[in-house]
């Protein structure tokens, strides 16, 4: 069995009086995909944000590749120190930067040399088949192309873990199917550890056999052997 890339141990999170996550524990093995499935408001996005370090858990621990990165009420390793890629639901492409510059910002933050930055940017764009859009701004692209840019931006830094927050929810069915296959291909070719949040059972079925179903901030069901409740 592979070692755990992500371990969430007894995570609880409240927003005021609302209990968003209630004692949630999950393990995801290195190179595997976990799909977190559930309706709106069940806490799946909060779970992703806690893994990323964008939210602080009230109880429990987050361990990435053996390193405790968050503990109860504190961030031990800040988001940028966790070697993550994150695809947001609304993509959050930086509108004042071109596609190439969006990717370059990631590599520049990781202190990659200028020549390597340009090569890796080209490679990442080629992986998602949009290398010709390098000099365009996000608003000059279609929804599907923007989606690919967001994906390229998330993988260009060669992250240990890729987090995706309903990245396909705003796309039409054909494009969804196409990009889902693309994601599966990328995950396999790069051996990425991936956590994919969705409310769509089709997404869940297409992406992985390991599905964590959430309801009311709790894990309601787990399909797959690598998760513990």
């Amino acid at each position: 069995m592979n070692s755990s890339a992500i371990t969430l141990a007894e995570i609880t999170k409240r927003f005021g009086s609302h209990l968003a996550l209630d004692n949630v524990s999950i393990d995801v093995a290195s190179g595997n995909t976990a799909v977190v499935l559930g309706p709106s408001g069940c806490g799946k996005t909060t779970l992703l944000r806690i893994i990323a370090g964008l939210e602080v858990p009230e109880t429990g621990e987050v361990i990435l590749n053996g390193v405790t990165v968050s503990a109860a009420r504190r961030i031990i390793v800040p988001p940028h120190g966790r070697r993550l890629g994150f695809v947001f639901q609304d993509l959050a492409l930086w509108p004042h930067l071109t596609v190439g510059e969006n990717l370059d910002f990631v590599l520049g933050s990781a202190h990659v040399s200028r020549s390597d930055r340009s090569r890796r940017t080209r490679e990442a764009l080629a992986l998602v088949r949009i290398e010709r859009f390098s000099t365009r701004y996000p608003h000059q692209l279609s929804g599907g192309e923007q989606q690919r840019v967001a994906l390229a931006r998330a993988i260009v830094g060669q992250p240990h873990v890729l987090l995706l927050d309903e990245p396909l929810s705003s796309l039409d069915p054909d494009l969804r199917t196409e990009l889902r296959s693309e994601l599966v291909r990328l995950q396999r070719s790069l051996a990425l550890t991936m956590v994919y949040v969705t409310h769509d059972r089709e997404d869940a079925a297409a992406l992985a056999g390991r599905v964590v179903e959430m309801r009311g901030g709790r894990i309601a069901a787990v399909h797959g052997e690598e998760h513990r409740m």
Binding site: A52, L54, P78, P79, H80, R82, L84, G85, F86, F88, D90, A92, L93, W94, P95, H96, F105, V106, S109, A110, R153, G157
Partner: protein, 524 residues
């Protein structure tokens, strides 16, 4: 429904007609008059050494103030938006106070600090600063201390509107300072640039500070030509380059701002970048700037004022001017808001292109130098017939306040209108309410704080208004700013300081009340 539409058309039509008469007509008149100006007057524009000096001083004042005020205001705005400071609302109000103080009050304090008989000379026993006190760089420093809140508030406002997700996406890969530098600041750069351009326009439009610090610029030259030389043609011709620069720069600023002034939409989600480690430097920065821009000038004026034999006598001696100023400012602010509320409503509910066009016009009107507005008002109202009956009366002060401050009030109130969704009006309409009833019962009650804010801003600006008032004041009648400005040359400094201090305190009282109200509402 038809009834409702008709009443809306009538009210808004009247409001726009009033806006045209009060704010646009004086400038149109002045521009039209330049075509018929005496040809000899155009020699005033010949680029001789005197003109070059005038041009240099004006450009230096504008560019220097824009750069320095932005350098001071932008970091403070970033701190207000991203550093979790205690008592942030109070800090914001105190740091914004300088923009409400009449600039010449700060200039006066500056003179009492650095002049030959000023505080520094008294403390050091040597006259080291007087030459520098009356110089263009000194005028830049004084105006920057007065105008930096514009940049501060614009930066804070813009940063709060940045979509939090964009910063979150960057935080996944970069430390907070890099996120601020590469993502947040470039996104708010157009707003910062626009505020710098507006600062430039306000600086080159300023009359009181260069006048007191003996810096020859276009505004003082226009005033001299008109009020001292009685050369109307020369004053108009000299006003043209100033007006052109202001129009071009203000239009650029308005274009850069786009919808940013009117859209009350907040950014999606929570802004994640918070600089907890910057609390101490931010606190030190606020203390230093507020000390230099607010506390020090008031303390210097207070020290000078205490030398007056009887403060009560000084205040009583100017009692008439104080009462007239209070009355006229309150009445003027009420008229300004009464007009601006309808124009603001109309602007907020227009199509985007029309809304932006009106916004450009409003910024242009606000940026028009006060001396130009003053001359335009005199040209429009100093004539035989019914119009002439107002000239030479206190009504000219009210027209001056309307001409100067309706644009600002409209911008505030349009933003306030946008917080009320159009669907609320539609719901009232389908319930059978006419437009006036909808405004009275649904829209205006929700704009209460915006109306109060617009009134306070208009009152404070009117109470400190000098540039137009000094030109249109009826003979023998003076408001407090005119009295302070005109007695400087031949009255003991202590008396002038006492009056200036009184004026500052009257301005600060309603600001404090508004700040307290806002804090209480936030607390609730």
């Amino acid at each position: 429904m038809w009834q409702g539409q008709r009443s809306r058309t009538v009210v808004i039509g009247i409001a726009f007609a009033a806006l045209f008469v009060c704010c646009v007509l004086p400038i149109v008149y002045l521009v039209a008059t330049t075509f018929g100006a005496d040809s000899d007057a155009y020699t005033a524009l010949a680029l001789d050494s005197r003109q070059r000096g005038l041009l240099y001083n004006t450009a230096f004042l504008g560019v220097g103030t824009a750069l320095l005020a932005t350098a001071i205001g932008t970091p403070l705005g970033v701190a207000l938006a991203r550093v979790p400071l205690r008592h942030q609302a109070v800090i914001r109000v105190i740091a914004a106070v300088p923009i409400l103080l009449p600039p010449y009050i700060v200039a006066l304090a500056w003179i009492y600090l650095g002049s030959r008989r000023g505080l520094l000379a008294a403390l050091t026993g040597r006259d080291l600063f007087s030459a520098w006190t009356y110089s263009p760089p000194a005028a830049v420093v004084v105006l920057s201390l007065v105008l930096y809140p514009l940049s501060m508030l614009a930066t804070e406002f813009a940063m709060r509107r940045v979509d939090g997700r964009l910063e979150e996406a960057a935080m996944i890969v970069a430390p907070p300072h890099r996120v601020l530098w590469r993502i947040t600041l470039p996104l708010v750069a157009p707003t910062i640039l626009a505020s710098a351009l507006i600062t430039f326009v306000l600086a080159v439009s300023e009359f009181g500070v260069p006048g007191l610090l003996r810096v020859r610029v276009y505004t003082t030259e226009v005033f001299t030509a008109f009020a001292a030389l009685y050369d109307f043609s020369r004053a108009i011709v000299l006003a043209v380059p100033l007006l052109m620069v202001c129009v071009v720069v203000a239009a650029t600023a308005a274009g850069l701002l786009g919808d940013r002034l009117n859209t009350a939409r907040r950014s999606a989600g929570v802004s994640p970048v918070a600089f907890h480690d910057w609390r101490r430097p931010a606190g030190i920065g606020f203390v230093a700037v507020v000390a230099a821009a607010v506390a020090l000038p008031l303390l210097i004026l207070g020290r000078e004022a205490l030398a007056a034999r009887s403060l009560g006598e000084v205040v009583t001696g100017s009692g008439k001017a104080v009462v007239r100023s209070l009355f006229l400012s309150a009445l003027g602010a009420t008229l300004v808001v009464a007009l601006a509320v309808w124009v603001g409503y109309a602007q907020a509910r227009m199509r985007r292109s029309a809304r932006l066009a009106i916004q450009v016009l409003l910024v242009l009107l606000f940026a028009t130098p006060s001396t130009i507005v003053g001359i335009g008002l005199i040209g429009v109202w100093n004539r035989p017939g019914i119009a002439g009956t107002l000239y030479g009366t206190d009504a000219m002060f009210l027209l001056a306040y309307l001409a100067r401050f309706v644009p600002v009030a409209v911008l505030i109130l349009a933003a306030s209108v946008q917080t009320v969704s159009t669907s609320q009006e539609e719901a009232a309409a389908v319930s059978g309410a006419g437009w006036i009833r909808t405004m009275r019962g649904i829209v205006l009650p929700q704009m209460r704080l915006g109306i109060a804010a617009a009134w306070v801003v208009a009152f404070v600006l009117a109470f400190g208004e000098l540039g137009v008032s000094v030109l249109v004041a009826p003979p023998g009648d003076a408001t407090l700013p005119i009295r302070v400005y005109t007695i400087i040359a031949n009255t003991p400094a202590s008396r002038v300081a006492a009056l200036a201090l009184l004026q500052a305190l009257v301005i600060l009282a309603p600001v404090a009340a508004l700040g307290a109200t806002a804090s209480l509402r936030k607390g609730q």
